[in-house]
């Protein structure tokens, strides 16, 4: 059961960016936490009036402002930065300097340098800066982290990750697809989550081979091979083009784990010496399976979003450490920038020779 912090006063919340993530996730999570008196939405901000109006209607007591600079910041507010990535750094730093705590959506920033400036600002101001890597709040990903940390299944041997499918996110602007708003494609989008989990579980890789299909714009498909110093390797395939299996398959010396990206509270295990595979719910210890209560009901992305907000509200009041501080957000951006530096073209062997030549020309231009 979730314990709701007994706050003397709800933490004021300011939401910057009223696009899809706010509409489909933050608005409901915040409404729930308002009911529990953990937070109270003080202002919503978005220069695009129709998007802002949709969110403002759900929080009629909140101020509705077009420009971030015009937001009435009270110190110790919680600022959700859910604007396009290119704006994350300026908005987060501005809010930290006003004495607020910040939950910045992923990708943390549009460059590693910007993200580092944000982390510096958090250090300088002493205010909490969390990054919206919400998958780390899933029961399944936490179990995997424990298995890796304690060597429960032995040492890692290899992994294969396939993630993505046709892009169906109801984006409320073109921010995902313009380089001025977001510097990369699928790797810079959902890839941030994928790489963050791999970094969290396995640490930093020592070598990589990265390929994608960008040709003057943003990649829709990419592949990444990662090598690790202990001697294991992993493969990642991401797509916003065509259905994949959406599965993480992690092999260890004494067994394997398969995790489906959409299942926050479930895992499949295969154990050495056991001829079948085990698939089931990840439950907290107090429900050791004997009562068959609890199940994974109530475990999904919505709960993860609620947990991230509670964690930051607690941190602002000095009651908890941040689960995902800025330093953690830097890791995936560092790896992504390394990928883009080493970028090579993905083979697309169904193209005609004339197209392949044109593709190579455009890719050279991207690199330059």
């Amino acid at each position: 059961m979730t314990h709701f912090p007994n706050m003397p006063e709800p933490v004021p919340v300011i939401v910057s960016g009223c696009g899809a993530i706010t509409k489909f996730f933050y608005a409901s999570a915040l409404a729930f936490l308002e009911e529990k008196r953990v937070v109270r939405v003080a202002a919503v901000c978005d220069p695009h009036e129709p998007n802002r109006a949709g969110i403002a209607a759900r929080f009629p007591h909140a101020k509705s402002v077009a420009r971030f600079e015009d937001v009435p910041f009270a110190s110790d507010s919680l600022v959700v930065v859910a604007s396009p990535p290119r704006l994350h750094a300026t908005q987060s730093i501005f809010a930290l300097e006003k004495g607020c705590g910040v939950l910045c959506e992923k990708p943390m920033a549009a460059s590693l340098a910007d993200a580092e400036a944000m982390a510096d600002a958090a250090n300088r101001t002493g205010r909490p800066l969390a990054v919206g890597l919400y998958r780390r709040f899933f029961r399944a990903t936490r179990v995997i982290k424990e298995i890796c940390t304690h060597g429960t299944l032995g040492q890692p041997v290899s992994f294969e990750v396939e993630e993505g499918g046709a892009f169906r996110w109801e984006a409320a602007s073109d921010s995902f697809f313009r380089r001025e708003a977001t510097p990369g494609g699928v790797l810079y989008d959902t890839g941030v989550h994928t790489l963050d989990l791999l970094l969290w579980w396995f640490g930093e890789p020592s070598r990589l081979d990265y390929r994608d299909d960008a040709a003057g714009g943003q990649e829709a498909n990419c592949t990444l091979e990662l090598g690790y110093t202990p001697g294991f390797t992993g493969r990642v395939r991401l797509s916003r083009d065509w259905a994949t299996r959406n599965t993480f398959r992690l092999n260890f010396t004494r067994g394997s784990i398969a995790w489906n990206v959409g299942q926050a509270g479930q895992l499949t295990l295969s154990l050495d010496g056991v001829t079948t595979v085990l698939r089931g719910d990840v439950l907290p210890r107090h429900d050791d399976g004997l009562t068959l209560l609890g199940h994974s009901a109530g475990e999904g992305s919505p709960q993860a979003f609620i947990h991230q907000l509670i964690n930051l509200a607690d941190a602002i009041r000095g009651r908890a450490a941040l689960a995902i501080p800025a330093a953690e957000g830097l890791r995936s951006l560092r790896l992504i920038e390394a990928c883009y530096r080493e970028r090579r073209a993905m083979d697309q062997p169904w193209l005609s020779p004339a197209e392949t030549a044109g593709l190579a020309r455009l890719q050279r231009r991207t690199a330059a």
């Binding site: 396939e162 046709a166 892009f167 169906r168 996110w169 109801e170 984006a171 409320a172 602007s173 073109d174 995902f176 697809f177 380089r179 494609g185 299909d213 960008a214 040709a215 003057g216 714009g217 943003q218 990649e219 829709a220 498909n221 395939r237 797509s239 916003r240 083009d241 065509w242 994949t244 299996r245 993905m346 083979d347 697309q348 062997p349 169904w350 193209l351 005609s352 004339a354 197209e355 044109g358 593709l359 455009l362």
Partner: protein, 360 residues
Amino acid sequence: MKIAVIGASGFVGLRLVERLHLEGRAEVVPVVHAFRSLAVLARFDLPWRVADPANVAALTAALQGCDAVVHAALGDAKQIVTMAAALYPAAAQAGVKRIVALSSAAVHSLTPAPGTTDSTPPLLKQKSEYNTAKARAETILSAARKNGRVELVQLRPGIVHGPRSRLVADVAGQLRDGTAWLVDDGAGICNAIAVDNLIDAIWLALMTPEADGEVFLLNDRETITWRDFYAAIAGAAGTDLRDVHAVTPPVFRSSPSARLARLAATDFAMSLMPVIPARIKRIAKAAAAAWPANHPPDNWRLPDAARPAVHEEMCELQSCRWRFPIAKAERVLGYHPALTFDAAMQRTGAWLRFAGVVRA
């Protein structure tokens, strides 16, 4: 030359954008209806525009500055008609000189009468709402051309196959899972056209002055049976036709909910995009939920082997006995399908592996 492509994120539209841009043939302006549809197009640095293709004012703005427009957008039956109604006035107001609109061979129904040619009028009363809408859209555009100055060419391709074809990907999946099926041993005619041959035809339709006001049926150069079609996909997917189920078309019940439930019974039906539009797919899924299962739950069974889900539209398609002629396209457009069926399927196989539909 600046060419707008409406429906630029679809199977044909996307391939057209790729070809025009990568081969450097023209400046391309992709037009899509929603931001999310930019995801794959955004690989290129192109001046895309987001507009509702059924809204004349929005579409007019999106077509500004373009010399020609290719209409390759799909929608449900209602949208197909409203998009056709908006296209001509928008193109005229934007000063576009020529429209190339993708109609469909389905305007002649899925079981066309022998003797059907380009000059056979579209069938305005069909069982399928989608085919009827395609027929109406064609008629609306032809009428608009009579009273307007924007040139118009309409193309009626058959079964379009190639990289990013849902139909091909789904058949490959069925062949892998042992649920693929053929009617009459696959003897029916599959009026197949490789997407790259279709793109060539679109280009010719854009460039050939005499094509104005004309309608063209389009096919690959070979006569292909459904068995050939499945065999080629099996080859591309590294398998064969050994496990394909032979199906005798059942008598389909004709109540609308029964039809919808059958549609929903299989994702395969859902993949026949030119045949079944998205809105119907959603309704069909809902209808399926209310449809009693074939076998009531019974503990005294072993799990069934994978079984094919047979549905009416595919049965009809596979019962086709008429190969659409392409003589007119050859004569007027100079259309000579460059890709052989085999070569086209090799390209498709390469894409199936790229996309992970088939594992190397």
